[in-house]
Point group: C2
Chain length 112, copies 2
């Protein structure tokens, strides 16, 4: 049960969640594109955050020339975190069915 640590640590930062939202919208982005989309922080900071997301198993990297395309890795730590929250919620209420079958709306994705 220690793998969730990486995921939640990675997801605890606002800039990192904005990076994930951008990747969720566009699918694949270069570091420069991510920096432009996130805004308010420099490229060095974005690169640092991408390192955290990479080592946490949340994003993938694909190199093409001098560019590096990043995309979500939904089979990794994100799913572990998802499962953890699921187990937490299962203990309290039995609305799990409703939660898992409800389709998330596009507008809910804008974080911070």
């Amino acid at each position: 049960m220690e793998s969730e640590n990486l995921a939640f640590d990675a997801l605890s930062d606002r800039v990192r969640r904005r990076i994930l939202s951008a990747l969720g919208d566009e699918g694949e982005l270069t570091v420069t594109d991510i920096t432009d989309r996130v805004g308010a922080v420099g490229r060095t900071t974005i690169s640092s955050h991408l390192r955290v997301l990479r080592t946490s198993g949340i994003v993938r990297e694909r190199r093409v020339g001098r560019n590096r395309y990043y995309s979500l890795d939904t089979d990794g730590a994100v799913r572990d975190a998802f499962t953890y929250l699921q187990s937490i919620m299962r203990a309290g209420v039995d609305d799990l069915q409703q939660a898992t079958s409800a389709a998330p709306r596009e507008s809910d994705r804008g974080v911070g």
Copy 2:
């Protein structure tokens, strides 16, 4: 949406996740019981973490005599975080389908 921010900040700490796991197992616990179950940290620290979980809308408090019983609030910030992860994962799946299918069909529009 700033509410998810609070949830992930709260979930980013290891001790807080252990508190939530304990509450998920037992349903309701006093501060002393939580301190015993979590271990490795003192009661002051537990109390500090419970404050974070309280103000984040993750746990509830019920006072009985000199005891304070804490339990999970699965309808609050935990559900928001759950929904956010779900949207992230769904976006990744959509991108994967879009990337792997050469000719998307019109009858197969999204689920939601």
